[in-house]
């Protein structure tokens, strides 16, 4: 069997059904072997989109996403997508073609040291120099990618190894290791801390989706009655409309969430990592709270905030041991009163479409099995604040890296992982241009992703910061010469609708819900609209700026 066939067979054995990629010289043997395989290959139009689509596939399905690229520029184009997966702990295997082993280190045509370049943004990487190691390496790569705290793994495959022949191939099927059981002593301490607390708060992160612990978190919350705040990645881990869900915390968090964090006496961090967008000024974050930190990765515990109790291991298991009933009626009432008082308002009396309201209405009208894949900017924060989510797998957003251009490929990945889902990409006029070429992918495979493009003629989030923190000195944020996005979509063979006034919103939402194929909805919004509330960078979460009353 040829090396390339071994790779394809090993992928099939891992249960892979879809790969995203782009061919080229060094990876041609793999593309040749693909011809005889039942793997579905999606030809993207830029390798970055291959990695980001693999990411969307993985986030939504929980399975390992797979992408291919050739050596040199193909491989370097993957890097942003690999880094995106690294920062949000997404399981991914990236396979890159490499020049033949005798040419490695000679500056051969399309040779780059992708093994070296990718090192800081992969969980692990392999350069396979011997065909005998190939089958085992692919299995190992998958195990590493999906085990513990997941992440991307790169396998660099020299061309001579891909075309070499091996008579007897031993495919590896050693089972994955099961994550560590939580320590009984720490569990006992945590139970006691919860029981004795009078103002406990759950701070739920992206690890809940990764661990598949949504049900366990909900039972814990329902049993204990403890209010919850979520991170950007934790959105949906408790349903948006759950009584005890106070919403997202942090820089663009809700007022009730940030107040609860500042007042709580016990912070139960479930698979989150005290990111700076969450904590604001770290020293002043949850100043009265003891901390219980639950995470699979011991390196996260006490990394930024010292934990008083740490439960390292699978949160899916650990949460079940914490069913106690603290006496917290007063605290709960306070949280719920704040929640009612500071609820977002959607009346907006201008001639412009109000994006938060449109997103709210869209997510209410759409059924539960709706995935929203965001780009990065103001529109991303509006999705986080105003859309309703029943499960965390349905909110795909680039958190750690904040990658503009994630949304469309991410949506493509999710739609291929789950053909029956309704998948919507919410994008901005800046972000969409980062991977606009993927409209061709939508068209080619008739992928029914709906794009809702909020056009504020600006790099809105950067514009907002220049307005607020750089004395309104606007620098390179104007996009008023945007192309006609509807025409662009149509040139790719994708129907488009334009929304310019509030009275057109309802019918646009209807079209999004009813249209069978791909669709682009180009929504003009007020360029001056900002995201509120906002905790200025480096400030404490008590110092929230809010919308000026109109």
């Amino acid at each position: 069997m040829k090396g390339a066939e071994i790779v394809i067979r090993a992928l099939e054995k891992e249960g892979v059904d879809t790969v995203f990629g782009y061919p080229g010289g060094a990876i041609m043997p793999l593309y040749d072997a693909l011809v005889d395989s039942k793997l579905k290959h999606i030809l993207v139009r830029h390798e970055q989109a291959a990695a980001l689509a693999a990411d969307g596939y993985a986030r939504h399905s929980g399975r390992v996403g797979v992408c291919f690229a050739t050596s040199g520029p193909g491989a370097t184009n993957l890097i942003t997508g690999i880094a995106n997966a690294f920062l949000d702990s997404v399981p991914m295997v990236a396979i890159t073609g490499q020049v033949a082993t005798p040419f490695i280190g000679t500056d051969a045509f399309q040779e780059v040291d992708i093994f070296g370049i990718s090192m800081p943004v992969v969980k692990h990487s392999f350069l396979v120099r011997r065909i005998e190691d190939l089958a085992g390496t692919i299995h190992e790569a998958f195990q590493i990618a999906r085990s513990g705290r997941p992440g991307p793994v790169l396998v660099d495959l020299p061309k001579d190894v891909a075309i070499a022949e091996l008579d007897i191939v031993a495919f590896d099927d050693t089972p994955d290791e099961t994550p560590a059981r939580p320590d009984a002593h720490q569990v006992a301490t945590a139970r006691q801390m919860i029981e004795r607390s009078s103002r406990p708060l759950v701070y739920a992160g992206g690890g809940i989706r990764i661990a598949g612990a949504t049900e366990e978190l909900r039972s814990f919350v329902d049993f204990t009655g403890i209010p919850v705040v979520t991170t950007l990645q934790g959105i949906g881990s408790v349903p948006s409309d759950h009584e005890l869900n106070l919403g997202m915390l942090g820089m663009h968090g809700t007022k009730q969430a940030n107040i609860a964090v500042q007042e709580c006496d016990l912070l139960i961090c479930v698979a989150a990592r005290f990111d700076d967008r969450v904590t604001g000024k770290l020293k002043e974050f949850a100043p009265h709270a003891k901390v219980i930190h639950m995470d699979i990765d011991p390196a996260e515990v006490s990394k930024l905030r010292a934990a008083d109790c740490s439960i390292v291991g699978d949160v899916k298991v650990a949460l079940n041991f914490l069913h106690v009933r603290p006496q917290i009626d007063e605290w709960k009432n306070r949280c719920l009163t704040n929640k009612a008082e500071y609820a977002f308002a959607y009346e907006h009396k201008t001639e412009h479409v109000y994006a938060p309201k449109m997103l709210r209405d869209l997510s209410v009208a759409a059924c539960d099995n709706t995935v929203i894949s965001c780009d990065v900017g103001q529109h991303q924060m509006w999705v986080a604040q105003h859309c309703r989510f029943q499960s965390p797998e349905n909110h795909l957003t680039s958190g750690g890296l904040g990658t503009m251009g994630y949304g469309l490929p991410g949506a493509i990945g999710a739609q291929l992982a789950d053909p029956s889902a309704r998948v919507i990409n919410v994008s901005g006029d800046g972000s969409i241009m980062m991977n606009i070429q993927e409209l061709a992918t939508l068209k080619r495979y008739n992928i029914p992703v709906k794009i809702v493009l909020f056009d504020n003629q600006a790099l809105g989030m950067v514009r907002q910061w220049q307005e607020l923190f750089f004395s309104e000195r606007y620098s390179e944020v104007d996009l008023s010469d945007n192309p006609d996005f509807a025409k662009v979509a149509e040139a790719f063979g994708i129907p488009a609708v334009k929304v310019e006034r509030p009275d057109q919103v309802e019918s646009a939402i209807q079209q999004i819900l009813e249209c069978q194929g791909p669709l682009l909805v180009h929504v003009m919004i007020d360029p001056r609209e900002n995201v509120w509330p906002l905790v200025p960078p480096g400030k404490s979460n008590t110092e929230m700026m809010e919308a000026k009353a109109v």
Binding site: S125, L127, R129, A299
Partner: protein, 95 residues
């Protein structure tokens, strides 16, 4: 703070590079390094003196996370801040 790490890892491609890269990126300046492969080339032992404002545990946990790493120990922890300027970093690498 200055301390010495003793790391045993699988001698796989890039193992030492990963170790050094991780320490640098996580804020641990390398002052001295000595590394050797085992007789059968299967393992690599490294002894690294680093200096940082960050705690020893952060280095330990970050190193332990590397897939190649079998074992990591803090060999010697010195509480005082080292006077780096007066002590030229020595580099001794034998592979």
């Amino acid at each position: 703070m200055r301390f010495t790490l003793e790391v045993t890892m699988t001698n796989s491609e890039g193992a030492l590079e990963r170790l050094l890269g991780r320490l640098r990126q996580r804020g641990f300046g390398i002052l001295a390094l000595n590394a050797d492969v085992s007789g059968d080339y299967a393992f690599l032992g490294a002894r690294i003196t680093v200096e940082s404002l960050r705690p020893v545990e952060a280095a330990l946990k970050q190193i332990a996370k590397l897939y190649d790493v079998e074992q990591v120990k803090v060999h010697h922890a010195e509480q005082e801040h080292a006077k780096r300027q007066n002590q030229p970093a020595e580099l001794c690498l034998s592979l």
